[in-house]
């Protein structure tokens, strides 16, 4: 049983560029777009795509071209 007040061991990943989708189908739709898929470094989960470092603007451009209106945080 974990001590409820103990400090939790954790590893931090900083400066991560990622895209969160509402559902897995939407993530699939994005990955089906060739230009977008090349900018995606990997899929962290069915709704979370890791974007290659420094390529967020290209991803946003492509998303907007697809007609999406992504909410951008921390830019």
């Amino acid at each position: 049983m974990t001590n409820p007040t103990a400090r939790l061991p954790a590893k931090l990943h900083r400066r991560v560029c990622l895209v969160l989708t509402e559902d897995a189908v939407l993530a699939e739709e994005l990955l089906a777009r060739k230009k977008l898929a090349t900018e995606v470094a990997g899929r962290l989960s069915d709704k979370v795509l890791l974007v290659r470092p420094g390529r967020l603007d290209a991803v946003l451009d492509e998303l907007r071209k697809m007609g999406h209106t992504p909410q951008v945080v921390g830019k």
Binding site: T2, P4, R7, L8, P9, A10, K11, L12, H13, R14, R15, V16, C17, L18, V19, L20, T21, E22, L26, L30, A41, G42, R43, L44, S45, V48, L50, V51, P53, G54, L56, V59, L60, L63, H68, T69, P70, Q71, V72, V73, G74, K75
Partner: protein, 694 residues
């Protein structure tokens, strides 16, 4: 947030700190007049403080020669503290002072003007040398606005061109025409930044955008004089007024400056002050970039407005400029034989009048109450009546904005989430998905948008439009992009559960990784850091391949997120044992899946990066075994030697080597049935007997 207004005393002190000490002492001797020799730092502080001392500044200005006093007065009247030296010399020449750089140098030496740049230059030891280094066309000086304002009362010696009173009741503009057009230019740059060439000129495509934009290129509804390229003027003016800023080789929209939040007067004052900085535009020629970067428009425009202190016909202003301004006449388009009358009319009636600086009666103009207040400090004109309910949102998502109720604040607010469609007595805007998205991206929320429309609307937002806005806003929630988030990885899912329960992280990204709602760093007081990885750093070796060649063990402190995302392409996770390391196993299926999207060389490179060696032989067997020729099962006759050396000897000796079919081990040689007798005989010759197979 827009940048705060610079503290001009600090700016002056900073400029003085770039002077070589002898020059600083010369300037401070004239400005501060210290009684004792002070350290340089004290001189800087005292000089900056003196610039705010009104009686001392008044005395210093009074002691100046007329040309210097006029120059300072012109800076004060323009309300623009920064001027190109070349423009100041043009203004002085128009006032019959043809002394070149001397008056500017004198003001620099008196500490009443300060040089700007050039970037990275060393200490300034001499103003003439600085002027040469900064470039005669590009050198910029600035004055403390408080100092320049004290000189505004100086008589410039401009003639009174008025010869008769007006015929009818004067007419004034509401001053909103240019703020509205600048807001539309801001919107255009917000949709797509306006790119600039290396020489800071507009690209043809962007120029065409400005010249064909339905709102920016349209003439005002009550146009008094035609104006060329009003869209270009709106764009350049919005840049000098702080609505746009250079960013990565383009003019990009920034937050509306603070003067857009209040009543019209501060905004109109700011726009008037920003006007002399618009260089590449001419009322008759429109967009007019020049190699020198200098245009007579800022100086001739300021003089034209000053000449309209009393009722005057634009023709008379043109005639005066024709005979006095050093470069204006030569810059006029050659096909205008009216000696610049059309230019003066276009500037005064097309720029200054709509800004509210002038009033009009028949063919005559003169400074309005606002113009006299801004230029000569006369009584502030009364604020216009307010009509807070001035918008009507129509069921087709168009907004009708009655102009008499518009304020800078409403104009700025609307510009963020509704697209300007028409500027006139009643302006029209359109609510669109794209513009709503931009509004939300700029920091607005859906309730803020609806509240703005309701607060200033003559009736509530129609239900259909509210639904539309809601739908557009919801669409934005479907995809969230984080530019630079901090992700928190826990060793087990249970620990992530605990972190969520304690509010350390809000979002679960995987069963072990979470992050805060805004992607910022979580509170570290409840965490014990076991690793710290930079996503933008190089991938690290963080995998150990087991003896079996198929078990991969993750070195958790060294592993990064890309490993997390990539390893699933190559291997299947192995259930984690309590307190055990995370493990994955290579399977034929996982490796074949990986091979569908990448070449073997890429797989090898990934394993080299992550484990230090290419794919293990066992992994190769799993991946490639099925693609190779099928293995054969066969019986062989093997001769087994006692030692490796003996086996090597048999392989080497000419009498035996041709009789060996294959070496299958250090001691084992394969011999065909038909060669066995010959091999046995050859070995027998040297005393080695081969035992027969049992």
């Amino acid at each position: 947030m827009p940048e705060a207004e610079p503290d001009w005393s600090d700016r002056c002190r900073e400029a003085l700190s770039r002077y070589a000490e002898p020059l600083l002492r010369t300037v401070a001797d004239k400005l501060v007049r210290p009684r004792t020799k002070l350290p340089a730092e004290d001189l800087l502080d005292k000089s900056a403080a003196t610039l705010g001392n009104v009686p001392v500044i008044d005395r210093r200005i009074k002691e100046l020669p007329p040309a210097e006093r006029k120059l300072l007065a012109l800076v004060g009247l323009s309300r623009q503290p920064r001027w190109k030296v070349a423009h100041l010399l043009s203004l002085l020449a128009a006032l019959d002072h043809h002394d070149g750089f001397a008056p500017v140098q004198s003001l620099l030496e008196n500490g009443l003007l300060f040089p700007e740049g050039p970037e990275g230059a060393g200490a300034i030891a001499d103003f003439t040398a600085w002027y040469g280094a900064a470039g005669t066309n590009t050198a910029v000086v600035f004055a403390h606005p408080g100092v320049a304002a004290r000189a505004r009362g100086e008589d410039l010696g401009l003639p009174n061109l008025s010869d008769r009173p007006p015929d009818a009741t004067p007419r004034t503009a509401d001053g909103l025409e240019w703020p509205l057009r600048l807001a539309a230019a801001w919107q255009l740059a917000n949709v797509e930044p306006v790119r600039l060439t290396q020489g800071n000129a507009l690209f043809k495509r962007d120029l065409q955008r400005l010249q064909t934009d339905g709102v920016l290129s349209a003439a005002p509804t009550d146009q008094l004089a035609p104006l060329a390229d009003p869209g270009v003027l709106a764009l350049l003016w919005s840049a000098t007024a702080g609505l746009l800023a250079p960013n990565d080789g383009a003019l990009a929209a920034r937050a509306f400056p603070s003067e857009w939040d209040g009543p019209p007067l501060p905004l109109l004052a700011a726009l008037f002050a920003a006007l002399p900085l618009v260089d590449a535009w001419d009322p008759l020629s429109g967009y007019a970039p020049s190699e020198s970067g200098l245009s007579p428009t800022p100086t001739a425009g300021l003089l034209a407005v000053l000449l309209a202190r009393d009722w005057v016909a634009p023709d008379e202003v043109a005639a005066w400029l024709w005979s006095h301004h050093p470069s204006w006449a030569s810059a006029l388009p050659p096909e205008t034989p009216d000696k610049g009358a059309a230019w003066a009319k276009a500037y005064l009636l097309g720029v200054a009048f709509p800004l509210g600086l002038l009033e009009l009666s028949g063919d005559f103009v003169r400074l309005s109450a606002l113009g006299r207040h801004l230029l000569f400090g006369e009584k502030e004109p009364p604020a216009p009546p307010t009509f807070p309910q001035t918008l009507m949102v129509q069921p087709n998502a168009e907004i009708l904005a009655y102009r008499q109720g518009l304020t800078p604040g409403i104009v700025a607010a609307l510009s963020r989430f509704a697209r300007w469609k028409g500027i006139g007595a009643a302006c029209t805007l359109e609510l669109t998905a794209e513009q709503t998205y931009r509004g939300l991206e700029s920091g607005l929320t859906l309730p803020m948008i609806v509240q703005t429309l309701n607060r200033h609307g003559t009736r509530p937002v129609p239900a259909g439009v509210a639904d539309l806005l809601q739908r557009w806003a919801s669409k934005r929630e479907r995809i969230t992009a984080f530019a630079s988030a901090v992700l928190v990885e826990f060793p087990t899912a249970a620990e992530l559960d605990a972190a969520v329960a304690r509010g350390i992280v809000a979002l679960r990204l995987t069963d072990r990784i979470g992050m805060t709602a805004d992607g910022r760093e979580p509170s570290l007081s409840q965490l014990r850091l076991i690793g710290n990885r930079d996503y933008e750093g190089r991938p690290q070796r963080c995998l150990a391949v087991g003896e079996d060649g198929v078990t991969l063990t993750v070195d958790t402190p060294q592993s990064d997120l890309l490993l997390e995302a990539e390893i699933g392409h190559f291997a299947e996770p192995v259930p984690i044992e309590p307190n055990g390391a995370r493990k994955f196993r290579l399977t034929a299926q996982s490796l074949r899946r990986a091979a569908e999207s990448r070449a073997l060389s890429d797989i090898d490179r990934w394993f080299e990066e992550r484990s230090g060696a290419s794919l293990s032989p066992a992994g190769r067997l799993l991946l490639l075994g099925s693609q190779m020729p099928a293995p054969r099962a066969e019986r062989l006759l093997v001769v087994k030697l006692a030692t490796t050396d003996l086996a090597d000897g048999v392989m080497q000796w000419p009498a035996t080597r041709d009789l060996i079919a294959e070496r299958v081990g250090p001691l084992a040689l394969v011999v065909s049935e038909e060669n066995l007798a010959a091999l046995t005989a050859a070995l027998a010759d040297i005393g080695v007997s081969v035992a027969s197979p049992s």
